[in-house]
């Protein structure tokens, strides 16, 4: 097992703290049936303190990965480590400092949130449980329903309680599967705000189908499709990997003639130009850098194209996602 070392200097005394990755997947494979291969040997390493979004279309393997990580299902092959502990060989230790919200959790309807958190807190041996229960119920805005049986809760309230139980033992690592699912827009914003606050003190692995959510919260993104990790990088890193083909909207002083359009197309890095509106065009070109774009703009003006505006289209997560999974 690879160890990462952090050297701390304190009063001229150097101590070495060994830190395992928060999550480490090695060649993780899951076959449900002969025909369904949900995970095709994925490997992923998430360091302590990172906030990673896990994105992919339905059936990509997100839930399967999370269920393996939380010990709900077993991998067919490969290994999964949480804070250095193999989830199969030492589940109890692996999940000790992990808080999870898997799918839309349901709770025993005959228990109140306080009962539920007492139950789970006692199982985990949470110190100062009563005070901690109050804190987490307050965090997720469920304090007014603390003594109401969960059977009467809406999906959104259950989702909040799911987050409360995940935070109850103040875990190092949070594994969140669609954390804002079932919440109204206000609730979604509150949960995102909470996660954004938590990401400064915890490692977060967050699966979501909401691209905007991942974009707002995560520092890094792992894209998964058909059981394979397509990319794992920071947003900037992903964008640059994919941005060899760029798009820009251009505006001209007057509509371009056929001859001028041909002139644009004949530029070595231009792939195509399409009319979108009167005097507005979509320019598709190859070139990643700002310098490249500046050269293109200058050369088009030199070739007699009456450019009045050149607006490169930013590559958002949605563009990256769509391009990657296609």
């Amino acid at each position: 097992m690879k160890y990462k070392k952090i050297y701390k200097s304190m009063h001229n005394v150097h101590t070495v703290v060994t830190m395992e990755p928060a999550i480490k997947l090695n060649n993780l494979t899951k076959r449900y049936t002969f025909k369904i291969l949900a995970l095709k040997g994925i490997s992923l390493e998430i360091d302590q303190g990172e906030c990673v979004g896990f994105l992919g279309p339905n059936g990509a393997g997100k839930s399967t990965t999370i269920k393996i990580l939380t010990g709900l299902i077993r991998p067919t092959d490969g290994t999964a480590f949480l804070n250095g502990h193999d989830i199969r060989k030492n589940k109890k230790e692996a999940l000790r400092s992990v808080g999870c919200v898997v799918e839309t959790p349901d709770f025993y309807p005959y228990l109140t949130p306080i009962d539920t958190l007492n139950y789970l807190g006692n199982l985990r041996g949470v110190d100062g449980l009563d005070g901690r229960i109050e804190e987490v119920l307050d965090l997720v805005n469920l304090q007014d329903w603390a003594d109401t049986r969960v059977g009467s809760f809406s999906k959104g309230m259950k989702q909040r309680l799911g987050l409360a139980q995940a935070l109850l033992h103040d875990p190092q690592l949070l594994i969140l599967d669609e954390p804002s699912s079932g919440l109204d827009p206000k609730g979604m914003a509150e949960i995102r705000q909470l996660i954004n606050k938590l990401k400064h003190e915890k490692t977060i692995f967050l699966s979501s189908h909401l691209l905007s959510e991942v974009q707002q919260i995560a520092d890094k993104v792992a894209l998964i499709n058909k059981g394979e990790i397509l990319a794992y990088d920071t947003m900037r890193g992903l964008s640059s990997k994919l941005s060899s083909v760029q798009e820009a909207t251009i505006e001209t002083l007057s509509p371009l003639t056929e001859e001028q359009l041909e002139t644009v197309r004949s530029h070595p890095i231009v792939k195509d130009i399409k009319l979108t509106d009167v005097k507005h065009y979509l320019l598709i070109f190859q070139g990643e850098t700002e310098e490249c774009r500046m050269d293109l703009m200058r050369e088009l003006i030199e070739r007699g194209i009456p450019l009045t505006a050149f607006t490169p289209k930013g590559l958002g997560l949605e563009d990256i996602y769509m391009e990657m999974i296609q």
Partner: protein, 266 residues
Amino acid sequence: MSTVSDLSQLMTIMRYEMLKFLRGKKLYIMLGLIAVIAVAIMIIPPALGEAYPNADEFIQFFAQFANILVILIVTLFGADSIVYDFEKGTAFVLYPNPVRRRTIFVGKFLSAFLVSAGVLAAYYMLAAVLDFGINQAVPLETVWSLLLAIGYMFTLMSVTFLISTTMKSTLAASVIVFALFFLVFSMVEGVLTVVGQEPFFVITSMSTVIQDIMVTPFPETVKQDFGAFQVLIYHPTVRTALLVFAGYAIPSLALAYNRFLKKELQ
């Protein structure tokens, strides 16, 4: 956060499983049913102008309903024990905790068994109190009958847990458990006795020992003529019954445990 032992986690699981029964309707349905049986037994003899039976017969009368009660108890308290978490999604909350699966399994089984045993004990207690009230006596065999009823219930609960770990819906598990013990086994037993064969491998046919233990002398298996048929009236011995209980309970529990460990939440 302190380290929690498996035993401590087992106690926590049992406590909250029992809370499920205490806060649910099933326990009160069973207690209500017990009250109905007791009231019926108390009302019917005077209504028919007959005297109450003696102490032995009175308690035997109660004991003959024990096998039906056991079937209802395991259906209500055991059939959904495992399958509920997987069907309703409560497993998504309970199972990703640092708790061994064996602890969850044992906790669920023990709490279902203890609550069921408590209901049976309440039934016998009520019978004993009424018997004492009417006849000023309670036969000692009542205790043996209760212990055999609990043994029978343990066996049926083991089979029920196997069904609960196998099925995907609580409704299907409950229906299968009830149908299996109430109809299927009874039909097999009926057919076998009609053709003169001892249904020694049919678990429900062992339930007669619950009543027979209170009869002196202990009834023996006999063949009786019913028209063209010679029907077997089967009375297994206590030893046979205990062996059959073990023969069902041990493999059923082992299989249920194994299936539970391997059960995946999909």
